[in-house]
């Protein structure tokens, strides 16, 4: 049986171009793959832009115990045995949005055109469109073994970085002379 995989942001912050550049090509080609048109709002991977200008691609974590599946009252989120991840059965989805509210990562959304819930489905087992197109090569389809070490380092970095993020000011504060004036 094929191993379970999930899309992971495998950034290399020690390289100048080893982080997300905010080009949005992953979104564009994900939507092209799934709906035959270009539309980030219909992509299963989204680039979140933080107010500091940092871009981060986020997509389904393929949870072991999916909150979206637990929240669905219509059995519309089902296990795909081949991929070992849950996928949306659009014939059963009623667009109620319960899964959208339940996902702790804000990943599963309602497609603005069909109104059905959409989430990453690993491109059905084919080579994922987002991984293929990313010019910075910061997306990977990782197995559980590959992802464990990545998760550990990421968690540790999150703890360390949270202080940095809490110290930074958002970009809306204005230009330097304004701040220098405040300092007196």
């Amino acid at each position: 049986m094929a191993k379970k995989k999930r899309i992971v942001y495998t950034n290399r912050p020690w390289e100048a171009t080893g982080i997300c550049s905010g080009c949005h090509l992953c979104e564009l080609y994900c939507s092209l793959q799934h709906v035959g048109a270009f539309n980030p709002y219909r992509a299963r991977i989204r680039v979140a832009e933080l107010s500091t200008g940092v871009d981060v691609p986020v997509t389904c974590q393929q949870c072991q115990d999916p909150a979206c599946q637990a929240a669905c009252k219509f059995d519309a989120i089902v296990l795909n045995k081949k991929l070992q991840i849950v996928v949306v059965d659009e014939t059963k989805c009623t667009s109620c949005g319960a899964c959208v509210g339940a996902c702790p990562y804000g990943i599963i959304t309602l497609d603005p055109v069909t109104n059905k819930a959409i989430k990453c489905d690993l491109c059905g087992g084919e080579s994922p469109a987002c991984v293929d197109i990313c010019p910075s090569h910061v997306l990977g389809a990782l197995t559980d073994e590959e992802v464990s070490e990545h998760n550990r380092l990421r968690f540790a970095a999150l703890l360390a970085a949270s202080d940095e993020l809490r110290r930074n000011t958002p970009s809306g504060e204005g230009p330097v002379l304004k701040r220098l004036e405040k300092r007196g």
């Binding site: 949005h24 090509l25 939507s31 048109a37 270009f38 197109i133 970009s171």
Partner: protein
């Protein structure tokens, strides 16, 4: 059922005087010949803003026209055109930006957005797909571009895109730009577009668009994408862009010794502190990308220590170049200045040249310390430079109020012989590198349709052509000779202008398609692949010749517009300094001047190849009709703006 065409299909028109919001079909009268982006914008400007309408009249249009391929996954399809009659040149004006706002507009359902009229009080336009509303913006008055974008994200969600002006645009500073998605994503900086937006009391546009952008032939698109990646993988031009961002252009200026330092007097200069490697290792915090671009040459920098500690800014090459024009070579001060301009909403190009003008006036005693209100405007004085920039944005003080009018008007107002220090073409401040020592570059600044501009005319093509290619394409091996060549240069310039215009029409970035290490790669990206991408997305079947003609056509529309505003051959000149004063500082171009005979010879050949009358510089009926611009020819004739006898060759 997915859409099978990348056009949204509609023009959105907003009358800020009456409040009327209407849509009309984007029909074949626009798409057939003008395609999108700058092509459509220039045509609308011609049709709707006659010379009787001044730039600050409510009847001036502010046109937003994303390139035809915006919103698709075509690599580096990122650029949106903004156009209006320019308050700097009094003629055609446009600017572009690679930020994603244009794609959001198309997804909302509109290929073009036109503003006319003037609101009674500050307003913003709110677009959420079908919902389009003019809303009160009094709470945004005086806000920085960054603050407007932050407010929009907080109020409407993190996905919204914005267009905004800063205090500079609100104060009708003629050096104000139109900012996309805040201070650090992109700006349509040139031609005083921000002032036009301010003159309409339009502070911002907030946009969400969640519709599809279709594509006619997915397989053809993907094949062309692969071809594009294969091409840039072997084109030596591209990797430095990805590695250094646009800082990389320092290498070009050093190689030819054409810095334009200290108000365009020095070609060689002490540039070493601005080495791209220093920016990369000491200040870079992000290597970003414009929409859909794999080249990723945007750069954000942060200063961590020293007097400018804490400053973060998106910084691009021309800002570094214009810092040297003001004599500043401290990278931290340059980052601080970029930050300043980005938040206040200024164009660094025009602002840099204007302050450099004031600095040379100060150096020569034409401006005294009393008139500068205590600012010691010496080249390289960082504090005075930053402070004057702030004052210009706010029109604070008499000098700043004069400089806010741009170099040309400031010189006319100050007088006292200051005109010889005003470095502009048709009122548009000087850009890029010094033209002395590079004859076709000199002419290219003169022929640009929006004032001095290297992006319009792209003279770099001469640096990569081999003599046999020059012979084949432009009739003379001389065209490949940068310093001495004359024959073939005029034809090369026409080709280069038409070629680069394709990029602005389709929304393709020049750095990704219109610069290269060899001419075959250049043609492959900028014409061959561009045409394949357009056809794949729209389902049309343009030939490469037709695509080049689309570029030629848009350029001619702009030329006709400028002609109608009164421009003639007499306006196709560059500042006298370049003809009369040898380039200082030594270096590869040291001692050079622009040779007037060569300049005129190239210009003659250019006019002839363009099918414009060489004596007057006016377009001819034959030339215009060859491009399908019969109505424009009729209009010019009715206004007495065609040459008395047509000299153009008839096809």
């Amino acid at each position: 059922m997915a859409k099978k065409n990348s056009y949204a299909g509609k023009i959105l028109r907003v009358d800020l005087s009456t409040g009327a919001i209407t849509t009309q079909e984007l029909g074949p009268e626009y798409t057939d010949l003008f395609l999108g982006g700058r092509g459509i914008a220039s045509k609308i400007l011609y049709d709707e803003v006659p010379p009787e309408v001044e730039p600050f009249d409510p009847a001036n249009r502010l046109i937003f026209s994303p390139g035809a391929l915006i919103g698709t996954g075509v690599p580096a399809a990122s650029r949106t055109t903004v156009a209006a009659r320019s308050p700097l040149t009094n003629m055609h004006g446009d600017g572009h930006s690679g930020a994603s706002w244009g794609a959001e507009l198309k997804r909302a359902g509109y290929d073009v957005l036109i503003f006319q009229g003037k609101a009674e009080r500050p307003v913003y336009l709110y677009i959420d797909n079908d919902t389009v509303e003019i809303r009160d913006a009094s709470h945004l008055r005086g806000q920085f571009t960054s603050a407007v974008h932050s407010w929009a994200r907080t109020t409407f969600g993190a996905d919204v895109c914005t267009v905004s002006i800063g205090p500079a645009g609100e104060n009708l500073v003629r050096l104000a730009g139109v900012y996309h998605n805040g201070a650090d994503k992109g700006v349509s900086a040139r031609c005083g577009l921000g002032a036009v937006m301010g003159s309409k009391n339009l502070k911002a546009i907030v946009t969400r668009g969640t519709g599809d952008i279709g594509v006619a032939d997915i397989a053809a698109l993907k094949a062309a994408f692969k071809d594009y990646l294969d091409t840039i993988a072997v084109d030596p031009y591209v990797p430095p862009a990805t590695k250094y961002g646009t800082c990389r252009f320092m290498g070009h200026r050093v190689k030819f010794g054409i810095h334009g330092a200290e108000n365009w007097r020095y070609g060689a200069y002490h540039w070493e502190t601005l080495d791209p490697e220093i920016f990369r290792s000491d200040y870079q915090v992000k290597a970003g990308a414009c929409l859909a671009c794999p080249v990723r040459c945007r750069r954000d920098y942060r200063v961590r220590t020293g007097p400018y500690a804490g400053v973060t800014a998106k910084l691009e090459w021309e800002t570094i170049a214009r810092s040297m024009t003001c004599g500043v070579t401290n990278p931290e001060a340059v980052i601080a200045w970029s930050n300043q301009c980005n938040h206040y909403g200024l164009d660094t190009e025009g602002t840099g040249d204007t302050i450099a003008f004031a600095m040379e006036c100060f150096e020569n005693g034409i401006l005294t310390e009393k008139e500068t209100e205590g600012l010691r405007l010496e080249f390289g004085n960082e504090a005075a430079w930053l402070e004057l920039t702030r004052r210009i944005a706010l029109r604070q003080g008499e000098l700043a109020n004069i400089l806010a009018e741009g170099t040309k008007r400031a010189a006319a107002k100050i007088g006292r012989g200051s005109e010889r220090f005003a470095m502009h073409v048709k009122g548009g401040e000087m850009t890029a590198g010094d033209p002395r020592g590079m004859p076709v570059r000199a002419v290219s600044y003169a022929t640009s349709t929006r004032g001095s501009d290297h992006l319009r005319s792209n003279p770099y093509i001469e640096e990569i052509m081999r003599p046999e290619e020059a012979l084949q394409w432009f009739g003379s091996e001389e065209a490949a000779d940068i310093k001495h060549g004359v024959r073939g240069k005029g034809k090369m310039l026409k080709f280069s202008e038409d070629f680069v215009t394709i990029g602005d029409i389709l929304g393709l970035c020049k750095f990704a398609y219109y610069r290269s290490a060899t001419f075959p790669y250049l043609y492959r990206k900028g014409v061959h692949l561009a045409t394949r991408f357009y056809n794949a997305c729209t389902g049309r079947n343009l030939s490469e010749e037709e695509m080049l003609m689309a570029g030629e056509r848009a350029f001619n529309v702009e030329k006709a517009y400028n002609t109608r505003c009164g421009a003639t051959r007499a306006d196709d000149v560059i500042p006298r300094r370049f003809f009369e004063e040898p380039l200082l500082g030594g270096g590869p171009s040291g001692g050079a001047v622009v040779d007037l005979e060569k300049f005129d010879a190239i210009l003659d050949e250019y006019y002839e190849d363009r099918r414009w009358d060489p004596d007057t510089g006016l377009p001819t009926r034959a030339g215009l009709e060859r491009l399908g611009l019969n109505a424009i020819a009729d209009d010019l004739e009715a206004r007495g703006k065609l040459p008395v006898s047509d000299c153009g060759k008839v096809e």
